[in-house]
Each structure stands twice: as C-alpha cells, then as structure tokens.
Subunit: 339 residues, 4 copies
C-alpha cells in the first residue's frame, strides 16, 4: 500500500501518521521528491482501512498495490481449480454446458426441456424456482414447488441441477440441489454469501450488473473465506450506456478473471444481450476467449414463457448451437463434459 | 403498450398474435404505414410479459407507454407523501437531517456523536450495526450489539434512529428501530423488500449503484404493494466511468423522482463522493434541487473510524454545515424538522 | 414514430398538433385507451425533429419505431458490403488483418515492423502519423513525415496502408493513403465526416468511447450520405465502470452491427483492453463472434515505444497469434486475405 | 510516479529498468516488501510514457501520484482565474448567465430572444451557427450566416456572444466572436484545441459525454499550453446507464474541478437533462454547488425550434428562472454580472 502525503502536511502530522502505522506492525519506506512525498507500507496491510487512512490530516491519497483477495487469488494457487458438480467437472480443461428454462413452469415443461437439452449435450440442467423480478406484479416463480419439479426432472435425466437462491431462510430447501446459484442482484448480499461459505456444495456466483471484476472476486472470497472453495464465476452482461440490447457482455472478463483467479469462469450469453438470436455468436466468442462453460436458456415455447421469453432458444435452436459448441470446444483445448 | 411488427411477419402470424392478445382482454388499435406496422394495446397490460411478447415470431419490438408502478406513481397520488418517523416528518415541505457515524463502534462513540449532531440540529440519528463490506476481512459491524447501543443513545437524545437491515432473518431485531434502511446493495433483494412490505414502519430505501430510476421506484413499489406505504427514497451516488470520486451524485434524480413519485427524496452526500470536503457543496445542491432531507456521516475521530473515515465529517464540521442548511432550507420553501 | 399524449392535454391542443403534423404530409393513426392516448405517425418522419415535438404542450413523449439511418441500413441492402482496399477485400466472407505500430517512429522501425507483419500474414499495414494524445506534453506523431515513411514502407511490402486523419485541413496529405482511419475521438467530428463523404477511398471509422451503436452507424451514414459508401466499422472498446483494463470490448457489437448494417465490422483488440497479453483471447473471440477483420498493434520494441507500448505485441507474439487466426477464420466460414 | 515490479522479475531485468530510468535523470527510491517490490520515481516524470513503462518485462503496473496538468492546476495557481469576456467577468466571485437559442434560425428569432434574455438579466448571448447533429438529415445550422445574425443581434443588445466552432478551417469566421465554444463532441479534437491555444480569446470548453474530469482538464491544458489561458470549463451532463433523461448532470464536477483547477466552471442544465422543466432545479443546484455561471437555452417558440426544442425555456420561463438566480447567487457569495 502506498500513502501519498499532502504537500501541506507538516512534519508533526507526518510523524503522528508514522507512529500510528508502525504501531500496527507496518514497516515504512519513504520517498520524498520535489513534487511528492510518498510512504510505501510493507507488511500485512489487509487489516488497514483505506478510507480511514484517507481521513488522516497528512494524507492526500492511498493506493493499494496488492490484491485484497487471497483464497481466490491465482498468485497463491497457480493451477486452475476444477469444481466437481455431482460428477460433472468444470474448469481445468473441463467445459460444461448448463441449459434449461428461465423459470420452472410445470412438470411437463421442465421434463420436456430437460430431456431435450440432455439429448443435445447439456450436462447440467438449469431452471429457476425462486425468481428475482423487477416488478412485484410479475410471475415470482413456483418457489419450493419449482425445486420439487427440478428434482423430479433429475430423476429422469440424471443431470445435476443448478437453481438460484434468494434468501438465507430458504437454504434448507436447497439441500438436495447440486449447484446453488447466486444471482447478479445478490452478488453483494453478504449475509447470503457468508451462509454459502459454510456449506459443502458448488456455488455458481453471477457478477452484479455494475460490479467491477475485483468486487466480483471479493464476493467469491466471501464464500471461500467461510470454507467453501467450490465457487464458479459467471459473467452475464454488465450495465453500460448502450441501449440496443439489455446488457453488454464483458468478454474481456474471461481472460482477466483467469489472470486474477484460479476459479472456473462461465458465460451466460442469454442474459447478456437478452436476445435469442445473439446467443450463438456470444457463445462462440465465450469459448474462443477461454471460458470453462456456458449457461443457456432454453424453453419449449418461448412466446408463452412466463419469463425471459425473448432470450430463450427453442430446443431445436439449442441443438444447432450444441453442434457448433461440440466442434469448437476441443479446438481451444478443452473437453466437453457429457453425461 | 405498443407492439412493432416485423416487416417479414405474414398475415397468419399476425392473426395468431391478435388472437393471443384479445383472448387476454386486450383491445388492439393497428397503424400500418409503408415502413412500419404497429399495434397499440389498450387495457390492463401490466400482466403481459414484454419478453415473451418479444419472442413472438411476428414481433420486432415492444415498447411500454405507461409506467409499470402504481402505488408509488404520482399520477395516481398527486400530493406529496409525508412520512412520520416517530414524530419527525419527512416530505411535503418537511425537511429532516439524519446524521451519525457510518458504524456504531462503542457506547462512548455513539453517545458522543448522537449528542453532538442533535446539538447541531439533526432530528434523526443514523448508525450502522450490520455493515455490508466489500471484503470479508473488513470490520462487519457490531451487529445486534450495535442496535442495542443505538437504542441506548436514543434514550439520551430522543432522536428516532435509522439503521440498515441486511437479511430477513434479522427482522425481529429491528422491532424497536424507528426507520429501517435498505442499503444500495440490497435494493433488489426482493425477498427482503417483500418482508418489509408486511410491517408498519418507515423504510429508507437506497438506490442501487447502477439502478435506473424506474427500477428504484419499482423496488419501492415492492414494499408498497405489500401494504407498507411509508417509503423514503435515498439517492447516494451512482456508478459511472468517473474515477476522481467514489460515485457520481445523480442530482437530477431529485426532480425526476419527484415527477415520477409522491414519495420523499433524501440525498446522502457522504456516500455520493466518498470525500468529506465535498459533503457541503453536495448538501447545498441537494437542498436547491428540491430534496426532502439529508443523510450525513459524522464521526468523532474520522482518521480512526472503523469504516468510511474518508467521507465522515467531524462534529465541528457538521455544525458548520448545519448553519448553512438552516439558512438554505427555508429559502426553498421547506421547514427544517427539529426535536 | 409514435407520439404519446399527456393525460392533461385538452382537445384544442391535440387538434393543433394534428394540424401541424398533417400539414407536413404525415398520416395519423390514433389509439385512445383508458390510461394512454397515442398517435402513430405514418409517412416520411425523418425530417421531424423529435425534440421539438417533445416540446409541444400536448406531448408526453415521442418514440421512434424505424431506424434513422438509410444508406447504412441492412433492411435496404440485405447483402454484406465488400470494401476493396487497394486489392485487399474486407467483408462478405473476406477477413483481413491490419497490423503495425501505434506510431510511426522512424524509417527503420516502420520498415522492420511492416516486413515482419507481412511475413506473418497481415494484408494491411497500420501506423499512426497524426496522433491524438490526451496530454499536450506527449509525443504527437511524426505527422506529414510519418505519412511519408508509411508510403516508403509500402514500396517494400506492397501492403495497403491505413492511418488516422485528425483534421480536414490535412486531407490533401492523405491522397496517396489507401484507407483513411477516423479515430474514436473524432467519430462525431461531423465536419470531418462530411469531407470524407466527398472522396472515393475506404474509411475505417472507429466507434467513440461512449457512442451507442445507433450513433456509430449514424456517423457512417454521414460519410455515406455524402456519396462515399466504402465504410468499415471498427469496435475498439467502450468506456464502462470497470477499472482493471483500459476499455471494455463490446463483443456483442459484432452481431448487432451486422444486424443493423451491411458494412464490414473490424475489431481492434489492442486498444480494447490496452494489455498485450489480452490481445489473443479477444482476437479469437472477435473471429468467433463474426468479425470481418482485426486491427492489431505490433512494435519491434514495446518497452521503448513512443506510444501505447503496453498493448503492443512483438513481431514474434504476432506471428504466434496469426497461426491461430489462420486456423480459426475458415472454421467460421471466412477467407483470410493475404497478399 | 510509482512502478510496481512483477514478483517474477529477475534482478537482471530490474537492473535494466533502473538503468533506463536513471539515464533519463529520474531518481529512484525502492521499497521491497514480502508481497511487493515498488520503485518510486522522483523528478520530472511528465515526459515518461506510462504505457511503454508498463510494457517493460519487469513491470507489473505503474501509478501516477502527481497530476499530469500544470497550467490548469490549482496547486500552481491557488487563486481563482477570472476570465474577461469582452467586459463580462466570469470566475473569482463573478457569476454570469449565458442564454439564447440552441440554433440561430433567423434575424427575427435571434433578435427577439436576445432582447428577451437581456431584459431578464443574461449578460452573454448564446446561439449556435455551426451545429453538430447526430443525423446528417437534421438541420445543420445557418453556419456563416448564423454568425452574421449573431453579430447583428449584438449591435442591438451589446451582449458578448458565445458560439460553437467545429473545425479549424472556420477559425477566420470567428474573429469577431467574443467567446468561442468547443462542443462536447470536440473536447478531444486536439488539432482544434491547439489552434485555439494560439489565439487571444476566451474559450468555453464543454466536457465530453464520457470524459473523466482529468481528461477534461487535460483538454484545457492543451489550449493553455499553446498560450491562451482564458479557458472556462463547462459541465453539460455525462453519459450513464440512466434512461429517463438524456444525460446525467455531474454536479460533483463543480467542487472537484475547482479543487483540481483555478479555471471558472459553468453548468449547462439545458443539455444535462434535455428537459425544459428540469432546468430550474438543476440551475439552482449548480449555484449551490459553487458554479461560476450558467448556460441556458431559450427559444421564443420551442415547439417549432429547429433543434433542441424539448430542453428550451420560453422567454417567460427564463424570466421566472432569473428571478430565482438573482436571489440565490449572492447567498453563495457571488455577484451576478449584468450589462
């Protein structure tokens, strides 16, 4: 950490600051030039509160030079993490496709879609039971009944299931779920992250709409700091000024997250643009950029879906897509996981 | 709602769409030009899922023309709402200042700050007990003990207290709190919003870092739809590309929210920029733009605060600020609430 | 175009608006519901000023339903445009790589780099002579001398050259340049665009840092409206809240621009992230998403480059990249242009 | 400037870097900790190219600690600059209002508006002759004829005139203009900025839609580096994700620019939101935040304006606004300039 002193700071103020810092076991290296006086802080600075340091009367600004995350940091774990999702591997060369409807709507619907996406090559079944909706007047999901229908579908296809949790109070309902998803709007629901750190189950953590990559990895760190290191990072589009699509897929997040962290990186091209016709080019781009998996919305009747119809593929469209995925994944040195 | 048809849509597809819509009790008004064919939908379109409509093979795009919120909508409630916070009024010409430390740290600290800000004219005491922190290694707040210390301070100053809730499971701890705050990161924690809709207590809802004003009002609508109409909206800076300060205060949100909704609008200039020296000009701007109140962080020793030191005023700085607030509020036709 | 009337608009105001519109040859289709009264405008609405319409006392809002661009619009030109760049084709299945240094620095440098990138398979040579720099104290380019050195390099490699223009007054210096580049900061330098519309030479138009895709295509429309239809669109990263890289590559721009327009789409992965190690994954993603070409910065000695060293590949790194480009382009059904 | 070394950097690489830097007269102060090795660079680092330094094999990252601007920097010029605009002072306690139509449309229009805004208290007349329009099919301004009409209006009202330049080739037409405006889209048209640095006339520089404040001040530095120090900075709304208004007024820019620089700061509330009803609250906020002036669009017939009708005030609305401006300016310690 580097502290830049104010030009107007007097020696008495600076000495008080030095005393405060060294009292916490920090070593100081000072550099004083004509235009700037800086102090490099050496030691375990993770416990220092940057904001309070900035409030010191002698301080102009403070800059970190090392990352604030540790368990998620590739520097301390150079090898790729591989997350075992009830037998389906993700990361470290293993590429998995998660597919299914935005919302679980009925037994017939989820069973039909589950069978279809399995036949096309999706190793994992997705489906929403608890649904975060912008409007209180929109369909809120089948909730506990939706989880039951997902489990029922799993008895038929044997696919591990991934579904979203919205509240710590629902955690007991997710015991028999294979992968728990944290949605973009809950990426910084820290109480939820803490609880998920206490269980032993893969977590699919979605990036918040305006979360920096550092904040995203810090949310993974929350889960890992609690003891659960089975975290997968999912980029699903960020909020920008662009209006022709719902969100902007941050494809650069793939290589950057892989540099920052050893955790697997999944791309959700369905939510990224919110447009079904754009799923294929974005899915191809994701594989080419180095992603470890895809999460794709598939619905048997998009025009009558209870949510997100505009971005859902039909089973036939998904089957076409999977042919291309199957071709491209090995070209980039990865193995497509199948059941 | 307006449906724009694809140029390639055939009459059979269009007729199928017409049938689907009229079956739901919607009346249709069509306009067919050389370059565009549009259908205006008349009736209660709130239940229609725009995304599914967009997935219809005949549809190019769908645009709403009326607002998706009702209880929060000024069109249906032209008069300003006044929220009674245990005797302190906010809105409809009543202007209230909420002040106190970012985090409650000790009995001595919260009592000292409470007395100081009351003496300067703050009608409401703020203080964080449950703290949402980006890093799991940062101070997480005194939690239930912090709430107890806040209540203790209240016995001395008689100020209503406002403090943040992070999880539905903590709701029982907040029974004796005067105003419950929902933080920016939980603005779309819909399960929490739903629970807050069931109680009878003022809610201070903070805008998410990248929430549009419509999404912000929709989150208020979640609470109000449940039956609790005592909602105050708080703008606290949005995330933009600018890097010289933490967030960008969206001052235009004040007049725009007041046009959209009848709810009171509070400005938090402390979080907006994250810089204590900028609190005063932003607070002045907030009053001038028409805000109904301010939320300001004050700490007795900012350089040693456990959180947010860089943006906290000292009691002396706050006292100076309040002199200016006291002068400016009546110029804009409002009354400063005092105890 | 759709006009949404104010609920408070009186019949007299509405009739005045009707008269104004029909006097301009516009046909009106009205839809009046309980909550909204809208007028669909049929006819040539391109000449209407939306902003003035919004100022009409009867009008709540105005929405366009058709695109404001015509010559660049794929609806009116379904087939891909192919731009002939002095013999190298771009678009319609032809994929071209443009490579070279950020700045032309010396005869030795540009000649060495030109020979190297040609040997690796770059069909077009890029190099900056007039340089837009944020600071007046930074190297501003060799200007006219730089153009001369580029032309000299071309005599050796026979590669068409692409270089940036910054001002209409320099246009006469660019007569012997093969492709004129308009930089991101000049995307809405409309006087420059108008002049480039009058010449008969390919234009590489870069997207502004915060330009919407519609604004981007409108800038192409400026050039095309003047008569020059040889326009290539280049996405080079947009400005977002993310701080770990310089810009965020908008990969979705590739499929969206191709839906909106028939013009070729080029990706510049060097400027997008500003990081040389990220060029490869972004270049791969660009090909997979459907781009028609790449623009890549290569420098013989990046650590001593006069500009943009951090994002420049060495000739050896570029050679490695081109092997992968050569493999991937045909998989996506395109032909790599070579000299 | 601080250089953070890679953990993997070997001593030989580091020594090579040291040699390169000291050869340029830079002194080095090194701090080596367990997790980081940093070098502080002392001396005139303005000529160092950060990007090239980042490309050095030993370097992980580079951070500046001092500002890259000098002439515009308040550190070197603590007192507020006062810009003399043909007798009307701006800055240093002098507050000026610039008002008039978006576009000059006719002699009758500009004369009527000029007389009206003068009568209400606007010291400076604005009016666009060269208009930057997103669409080539929109009204492009009366150009040279518009300048002539502005000069004619000035003979009647004696107000200094401010109008926008779009191209260096038009500079000779602006000789008799009092203040030359550089529009948001040309904020980084560096060739234009350089030419404006050579003349002796006040420049009103508008902030680009997505320019950081540092980039904004750097563009002022371009003009000042050429010798013309009469620069006024104008914030006019930035581009964000918010969609309910055209742009987001960055009110924090006022105090931040005043901290960074000694130049006057003007607010344009008309372009900021693009909504006439929002001009008043934003203008009030601007004064309260410390601005030195306002730029406001006024049109005698907004519903028939050739551009920007939706954001224009009528003369009567402007007169109401000016009564409030006249009251508020002295409360914030400034003097309203009048003719």
């Amino acid at each position: 950490m580097i502290v830049i002193l104010k030009e107007t700071a007097c020696e008495q103020q600076i000495q008080a600051l030095r005393n405060t810092l060294t009292a916490q076991g920090i070593k100081l290296h000072e550099s004083k030039g004509e235009q700037s006086h800086i102090i490099g802080l050496i030691g375990d600075t993770k416990s220092l509160d940057i904001d309070s340091l900035r409030a010191d009367p002698a301080v102009e600004d403070v800059r970190r030079v090392s990352e604030p995350y540790k368990k998620a940091n590739r520097k301390f774990h150079p090898a790729d993490s591989v997350v075992d999702c009830s037998g389906v591997l993700v990361g470290g060369g293993h590429f998995a496709v998660m597919a299914g409807p935005c919302s679980v709507e009925s037994e017939a619907q989820i069973t039909e879609v589950a069978n279809a996406v399995k036949a096309s090559g999706a190793a994992i079944l997705r489906g929403g039971a608890f649904k975060p909706r912008t409007s209180p007047y929109s369909f809120q999901g089948l909730r506990a009944d939706g989880l039951e229908l997902l489990r029922h579908a799993r008895t038929q296809t044997k696919q591990p299931i991934v579904t979203e949790i919205m509240n710590t109070e629902h955690l007991h309902l997710f015991e028999d779920v294979d992968i728990i998803q944290v949605g973009a709007r809950n990426m910084q629901n820290f109480e939820l992250l803490k609880e998920l750190g206490k269980i032993d189950k893969p977590i699919l953590l979605k990036r918040g709409l305006s979360a920096t990559l550092e904040e995203f990895v810090m949310s993974a760190e929350y889960i890992m700091a609690g003891g659960n290191e089975k975290v997968m990072l999912c980029e699903r589009g960020i909020r920008t000024f662009e209006t022709s699509m719902r969100n902007t897929l941050d494809i650069s997040a793939v290589p950057m997250l892989k540099k920052m962290s050893h955790l697997p990186v999944i791309i959700d091209p369905s939510h990224a643009a919110g447009l079904s016709w754009m799923v294929e080019p974005l899915a191809m781009a994701a594989i080419a950029a180095g992603a470890d998996g895809l999460m794709i919305e598939v619905h048997n009747d998009p025009a009558h879906a209870l949510s997100d119809g505009a971005q859902s593929l039909t089973p036939a469209q998904f089957d076409e897509l999977m042919k291309k995925v199957t071709t491209l994944v090995p070209i980039f040195g990865k193995t497509l996981e199948t059941l």
